[in-house]
């Protein structure tokens, strides 16, 4: 760059003469004219802003396109075959603090309109301005909410309408009574549009059986674990019901997905129903637990006892899972790399009642990341071992290629248990591990107490892990194929409520001992005398009594002839035909044949008895259709308290759990169109100051290193730029001084002729 002139001089005369005032032109030059011009300019300024306020050209620079419609929404909108009318019942008179929210909602709706390429018609209606519109809104269930507004001298309440009605294909409609937040609008609206386009809601049944809190006081305070949040979150998109087979019925045939959350006290009948759901091609998700801990017990984390199988159950749930290809060992996983540990914040009170937060690292709460562990073999390998050999045994932490985990940066687990795939899997079954721990983990039987505040909790395990072989523990497995029934070759278990049938008819049901008498409490799942009796039965005897069909009779190979009929029922041949009909694909089935309706309980009226007579349960030994099953070795990751975050610091929090579960359901019940909606904001942006993958560092070393690094980085970033600025100043000062010296040297030179050469 050319050097600047040392002395600035006016530019040569080649410049034009002083230009006439190109600005202003205010004529007389008075302040009044100036003010008038200024007011005029402000008017133009306001006018431009007003005219351009609806110009919506924007570019979303965020990595996850947080402020744009997702690909999922665009795909759903592209499926619109008929015009979708969105009626926005928005009152125009709104409090000032609500303007921004309203603008964002309107912008979002406008984005929908544009993306649908003419298939969406957006109509704004103000119920406060028109009585008929208000009545219509009320009829639709769009109710006004009262919001506070600040008047000139008082607070008053104002009615606010902000509801939507979607109309599609003439008769289909959906109403959102009140749009609360623009941020949640897309995840609320898009599934509804999808539902309107598809014309149905997938059906999901949940079996939620939380363990009661061992502390009766906390139980009273409703501190029993709950899974309401996931249920509520998914309720918009799915038809959710609770699994109920207590009356002896099977699960509905049109059930898309069955979800077992923390299965416990499972009766044989329930196991049979689950099995038959799989055999019919229904999908199954199991959130399996080995142990759970009570966090309300003064930070002691006391184990909550529970059993998978109900009292009196002859068949083991774990065996049943094993028959499908999933092994569980009932142990807990402890992660031994501090980087992945969850943190528990304990409030410690001193003698004056003052609370102070204390942070504990807890290896039983940990996160899993999609790391390729093969790469870390050299860091992990023990002395004298071959890193290459270790690398061969290691796999990726999360299979992010699978749509269920796509976009998930991590997953949190809490008292997780390993769920492994059986080797080899049965023919026709494909299985894969979706999530694995790090290789530096321990597995152990659940201890009665596991308090995070126990200083030995980590120390003991740090010593132990060095002697243990390195092995990744699978935490989520997925299986697909035509499963073989766990009940193949076994009799159909006793149905709840059968005792009364037996007594009335004088006949026997399979698996029942004729010598045992009716239990008056039949139908309940509590251990009864009857169940105790069945427990003692000889399975071989049961099996023998089960085969009622003659050997010469032709039967569907996948369909076992074992059947539980109410005695004295319709002809066997007709019933068999009926059953065959029942096994036809879902869509072709008449509605009344979709699984046996719940049989009547004892003491029914005549109609109930009639239904009872018509009922027949057929057992499938081999699945006719391909089904999918996913087993997760943790149910806490979708539990309310873990989703919300634990304690006052709301840490750890399993936000990913709800995303994972939603993805899982969508992949099984829908066509994955909505996955992207939830993967928004799912990138893990947590700062990792010490990236110790090897796990060879102790907790104390880890903490010290993190603190030191943070301190250094803070100092560097606070004082570095200031020093940089001062350095620039010093350089300029130095250059200026040398310039000055050169100038002085020039003018003091005896040969100086009074002329200064200007370089430009």
């Amino acid at each position: 760059m050319a050097e600047e002139p040392i002395v600035s001089t006016p530019e040569p005369s080649k410049n034009p003469p002083p230009a006439p005032p190109e600005t202003g032109g205010n004529g007389d030059g008075s302040w009044f004219a100036f003010l008038l011009s200024a007011i005029f300019l402000f008017g133009i300024f306001g006018e431009i802003l007003y005219l351009t306020k609806d110009w919506a050209f924007r570019k979303d620079l965020t990595e996850e396109h947080l402020y744009s419609l997702s690909g999922s929404t665009k795909r759903v909108l592209s499926k619109l075959k008929e015009p979708l009318v969105i009626e926005a019942y928005f009152s125009k008179k709104i409090p000032g603090y609500f303007v921004e929210t309203r603008n964002k909602i309107e912008n979002f709706l406008d984005e929908y309109r544009k993306s649908a390429k003419g298939k969406i018609q957006l109509v704004y209606l103000d119920p406060l301005q028109d009585e008929r519109t208000r009545e219509k809104a009320d009829r639709l269930g769009i109710q006004a909410r009262s919001v506070q507004t600040l008047g000139s001298d008082s607070l008053s309440l104002q009615q606010l309408y902000q509801g939507l009605r979607l109309r599609y294909g003439g008769d289909k409609q959906y109403v959102i009574p009140f749009v609360v937040s623009p941020n949640a609008l897309e995840s609320q609206l898009t599934p509804k549009i999808q539902e309107l386009v598809l014309g149905k809601k997938p059906k999901v049944a949940l079996l939620v059986r939380p363990k009661a809190n061992p502390n009766p006081f906390m139980r009273e305070k409703n501190q029993t674990p709950s899974w309401d949040l996931v249920e509520r979150a998914l309720g918009e998109r799915y038809e959710i019901s609770r699994m109920d087979v207590s009356k002896g019925q099977l699960l509905p045939k049109d059930l898309d997905v069955l979800v077992l959350i923390e299965p416990k006290d499972l009766t044989d009948w329930e196991k049979f129903c689950i099995d038959q759901h799989l055999m019919r091609g229904g999908n199954l998700i199991v959130f399996q637990e080995a142990a759970d801990y009570d966090m309300s017990s003064m930070g002691m984390f006391r184990k909550i006892d529970f059993k998978d199988d109900a009292n009196g159950s002859k068949l083991s749930w774990r065996d049943q899972l094993g028959s499908y290809g999933v092994e569980t060992n009932g142990k807990l996983v402890a992660e031994m790399i501090p980087r992945f540990w969850g943190r528990y914040v304990e409030i410690v009170r001193d003698q004056w009642g003052q609370g102070a937060a204390k942070l504990h690292y807890y290896p039983f709460w940990f996160r899993v990341e999609p790391l390729d562990w093969k790469k870390f073999a050299p860091q992990l390998v023990k002395k004298g071992e071959d890193p290459g050999a270790l690398a061969k045994t290691l796999e990726q932490g999360m299979d992010t290629k699978d749509p269920v985990l796509k976009g998930l940066a991590q997953m949190q687990f809490f008292w997780a248990t390993p769920v492994a795939l059986k080797k080899p899997l049965k023919d026709g079954i494909q299985g894969k591990v979706l999530v694995r721990t790090s290789p530096r983990t321990l597995t152990e039987s659940p201890a009665p107490l596991l308090p995070p505040s126990d200083s030995n909790l980590i120390k003991e395990r740090e010593a132990r892990v060095l002697n243990e072989p390195m092995e990744q523990q699978p935490l989520v497995v997925s299986l697909r194929g035509k499963f073989t029934s766990f009940f193949a070759g076994k009799p159909i278990p006793q149905r709840p409520g059968q005792e009364s049938q037996k007594d009335k008819s004088g006949g026997l049901l399979q698996g029942q001992d004729p010598s045992k008498k009716k239990d008056p409490g039949g139908g309940k799942q509590e251990p009864t005398k009857k169940q105790e009796a069945t427990k003692k039965q000889d399975p071989a005897k049961n099996q023998a009594s089960g085969g009622k069909q003659g050997p010469g009779k032709k039967q569907d190979p996948g369909q076992n002839q074992d059947s539980a009929k109410a005695p004295g029922l319709a002809k066997e041949k007709d019933a068999s035909k009926k059953q065959k009909k029942q096994e036809t694909p879902k869509g072709k089935e008449p509605a009344k044949q979709q699984g046996p309706a719940g049989p009547p309980l004892p003491n029914q009226d005549g109609e109930g008895k009639k239904a009872e007579k018509e009922e027949k349960i057929t057992k499938l030994d081999k699945a006719k259709k391909e089904a999918r099953m996913v087993v997760i070795g943790d149910a806490s990751l979708i539990r309310d308290d873990f989703i919300m975050g634990i304690g006052p610091a709301r840490t750890p929090s399993s936000r990913e759990g709800i995303v994972f579960f939603s993805n899982l359901l969508d992949s099984m019940a829908l066509d994955l169109d909505l996955v992207e909606l939830r993967n928004l904001r799912s990138v893990d942006r947590k700062l990792k100051f010490v990236d110790d993958i090897s796990g060879k560092m102790s907790l104390e070393e880890y903490k010290t290193l993190v603190a030191t690094k943070k301190k250094r980085l803070r100092l560097l970033n606070v004082f570095g730029p200031v020093l940089g600025l001062l350095l620039v100043g010093l350089v300029i000062w130095f250059l200026r001084s040398s310039e000055k010296r050169r100038f002085l040297a020039l003018v003091q030179d005896p040969g100086f002729d009074g002329r200064i050469k200007i370089e430009s």
């Binding site: 620079l61 000032g96 303007v99 803070r714 100043g729």
Partner: protein
């Protein structure tokens, strides 16, 4: 080299020759860095995240003092030193003078902002930083500074005293910053209108990582308005001495 560029370079250089730029710039970097890094590394709860929102949220507040401190001298100093009249006699158009001074001041703010680039670099080194909002934040910061500077420059042209220019600029900007709050307290329609007029609201929109044409138009028109008013003042002074 155009006249605007010559004036821009002169103004830009003059900042580095004045101690006030180092004091104001140094304070901005030290306090801003301290505030931000005390919070971004605080990870007792859910854990510190690689986000720059905390820093960008502070910018409108810091610029409220920083930019007027830089703009106060642009005309007022010329007047105080008696070079203002001389400058007006130069064969330079008002437009070049104003643009040169404005861009010189803006360039200095850009340099100061460039000194904060180690912040996102640090975050990117230890976490997954989304560069979209960072780019938006810096661009929004520059546009916000430009709007503040254009107003400060205009106010500086109205007075001879630098301190008065500073106080008037801070007061005017404070009104602009608080405008949406005033509007919200009065009526919804006013709230919406006042939000449209507030540079901070437009900055927030860009800083979250969304480039909206309306925000860009706002800054362009806002700067244009005050630079034009500045030109009117110069013309007025040229004519009236």
């Amino acid at each position: 080299m155009s006249k605007t560029t010559v004036i821009l370079k002169r103004e830009f250089r003059s900042y580095f020759l004045s101690p006030i730029a180092y004091v104001v710039g140094g304070l901005f970097l030290a306090i801003g860095g301290w505030f931000y890094f005390s919070r971004v590394f605080f990870d007792f709860g859910a854990g510190a995240e690689a986000r720059m929102d905390g820093f960008f949220n502070l910018l409108p507040l810091f610029f409220l003092v920083l930019v007027p401190a830089l703009s106060m001298r642009l005309w007022a100093e010329e007047k105080k030193l008696g070079t203002f009249e001389l400058l007006l006699t130069f064969p330079v158009r008002s437009r070049d003078l104003i643009l040169g001074k404005f861009l010189g001041g803006l360039l200095f703010v850009v340099v100061l902002l460039a000194f904060t680039l180690p912040y996102p670099m640090t975050l990117a080194a230890y976490g997954k930083l989304d560069w979209g909002p960072v780019i938006g934040g810096y661009l929004g910061g520059i546009l916000l500074a430009a709007s503040y500077l254009s107003l400060g420059l205009f106010i500086s042209s109205l007075t001879r005293d630098q301190i008065i220019a500073l106080l008037l600029s801070v007061a005017s900007l404070l009104i602009l910053v608080l405008l949406p709050q005033f509007g919200a307290a009065m009526s919804p329609s006013l709230a919406e209108a006042f939000k449209l007029l507030s540079p901070v609201e437009h900055f927030r929109s860009i800083a979250r990582g969304v480039l909206d044409l309306r925000d860009l138009i706002f800054y362009f028109v806002f700067c244009g308005l005050f630079l034009y008013l500045n030109a009117l003042v110069l013309e007025f002074k040229k004519r009236n001495g």
